[in-house]
Symmetry: C2
Subunit: 362 residues, 2 copies
């Protein structure tokens, strides 16, 4: 199995030194780049695509941080393997549907993934745990510079970086953050927040692209515009919006505790009980239960290191991961639900019971 190192590695994404970790799961920046005087992937023929793939792989191999990484080509991966990469946000759904002359190179710690021949020749992505645009930008800028040394990027003094789709033209930067917003969801304020955020040219989606009913109360918030602003301005404006959303989430949680503590404790307790004792768990339900556990950690009902476990399970209980972990002998989604419940049961039965009194006394 080609993606074994990716599955088995302990990633560095769990470093939670950048507060407020209770709301922000991770930060991501992505740059689209294309080689000058070369057709975009959708316009290139097979041999051109093959050549682009080889040139990019070669350039990436020269980057220090990508050494010892995984070099993967789509045509060599099984469906569940591609699914795992999608679930880890290392490749896009679009790339996973592609059959040939495309691939991804994933750094050893999975903090960087560079797709080749997706919509653009190169899609460079850097992930950081918590709320950390500065750290992410520093790394992606270095990678971008390193690649520019070897590949001549398509760039227009007037338009900036040229991309296959005009929505990426200019900086070709997509900056985003994964937020855990159970407070706003429980308080039914998410729609209002989404509307306000959208009006500022900022997009909101679920963890896997869903809308406001995102499972697990996880939302991805990112810039929509790439043209007419510098990279720094894009991130600055996005940060301003994010700061407000984070504050609103923290207020919503505070109000929940003040006005409906027994109900919230009950929800968290039952989630814990279902994870410890369920026998059938769909991935959507698992997400929602894990989301409540994460909130339980934030409220001090579970140990701090469970936040790390929950964030890991958000990924590893997705269908592709369950399929791969059980070595592919699951015939249908019912069997996956049994296996998912088994995996979660095993972990959560190892924990001490929730101590409701802790919170009630505060």
């Amino acid at each position: 199995m080609q993606i074994r190192p990716i599955l088995e590695a302990e990633t560095e994404l769990t470093d939670r030194s950048h507060a407020p970790e209770s709301v922000v799961l991770s930060t991501r920046v992505r740059l689209a780049r294309n080689i000058d005087e070369t057709p975009f992937p959708s316009r290139a023929n097979k041999s051109q695509r093959r050549e682009i793939l080889a040139r990019c792989q070669d350039a990436i191999a020269g980057l220090k941080m990508m050494q010892k990484g995984s070099v993967l080509e789509m045509q060599n991966l099984s469906d569940p393997e591609k699914q795992v990469l999608v679930e880890r946000h290392l490749i896009s759904r679009e790339l996973s549907n592609d059959k040939g002359e495309s691939g991804v190179i994933v750094s050893r710690d999975q903090s960087c993934a560079i797709m080749i021949n997706e919509e653009d020749h190169l899609r460079i992505q850097v992930l950081r745990a918590g709320y950390n645009f500065k750290g992410a930008w520093k790394v992606i800028d270095r990678i971008d510079t390193g690649l520019e040394d070897k590949l001549d990027f398509a760039f227009s003094p007037e338009w900036g970086f040229l991309t296959a789709c005009p929505t990426n033209l200019g900086t070709a930067l997509r900056a985003s953050v994964m937020l855990h917003l159970p407070g706003l969801v429980m308080a039914s304020q998410m729609e209002k927040v989404v509307r306000a955020v959208n009006q500022m040219g900022i997009a909101v989606r679920g963890l896997y692209g869903e809308g406001t009913d995102a499972s697990g109360s996880i939302f991805q918030i990112s810039n929509q515009q790439t043209l007419g602003e510098s990279e720094q301005d894009i991130i600055k404006r996005l940060t301003g919006v994010l700061d407000t959303v984070i504050e609103q989430e923290q207020n919503a949680r505070q109000k929940l505790l003040e006005n409906a503590a027994p109900k919230v404790l009950d929800k968290i307790g039952r989630a814990f009980g279902a994870l410890q004792n369920g026998h059938l768990l769909s991935s959507a339900e698992a997400m929602n239960l894990l989301s409540l556990i994460r909130l339980g950690v934030d409220f001090g009902l579970l140990p701090e290191n469970e936040r790390r476990s929950v964030d890991k399970f958000f990924m590893t209980t997705q269908p592709g991961h369950i399929q791969i972990i059980s070595q592919g002998d699951l015939e249908n989604s019912d069997q996956r639900d049994v296996e998912r419940a088994r995996v979660l049961r095993e972990h959560f039965r190892g924990l001490a019971p929730l101590d409701f009194d802790t919170l009630e006394k505060t």
Copy 2:
């Protein structure tokens, strides 16, 4: 608190030697009796009722099995105390609403309760654990004979025992059994069963008098007719119907295990999880969760002695019990729900985790 001995006693009702204990919770027989030449309670004036009460108390005090019992008069009991007696099926809802010159005498082991000045002068009730009409009848017959020695019962050679309501005329016997029928409920067969049973002149009600959507899947099945059949014939005919219902329940459970084992295991597991970790539990929900735990015991997922705990909690998690146990400082039903969850959590956290593999292997 007058009913303390009733609350604190370990009753003998938990002797489960009479199979099939997985379906039958308890057996009850009840006789209505009235003193000859004396107005029925609803027609008697206050001083007549007082005299009836005294005469009956005196007669009952002479019975060996009622010695060391609790002699209670309604006017001396608080509302939660009366509620507890109703929840233990020791008095009727009707008697609990009565203000004066009425009462109940409860034997020390709570297997016998004799109401005075309810609808009739005397309502004698004997309870036995499991399926045991023979044992229950033997005891109630002895009590009836003992009382007849001291009180002259109203009896007509043509009609049999005379009662305030004609529906009790004749034997004045109500024989009933509490059945736990989760299999038939889950298989949506209960309505069909109730219709068939009703056609044979047998009544079906919930644990506290509800219909076919009885919480906890507990149903009370009893004879409707008291006239024109001997006591033995009534019990024989009822037993015939009960045997069929018990067999249908056992078949329904077998089919559930064959066709939907993962779903049933999941339900039982989640019930266990909610009892271990819930923070708010209504009494109706507690009944349903406990019902699933009882089924879990029957399926070998929990230790045998948990059947006894569940049967106890069916009673002690009712509102009156929760109110009394917490010493009455609960202001509303939300607080009772918190207290109920606490009591159940304390017990169920002491148990080992469910071992799904046991059942899956069989």
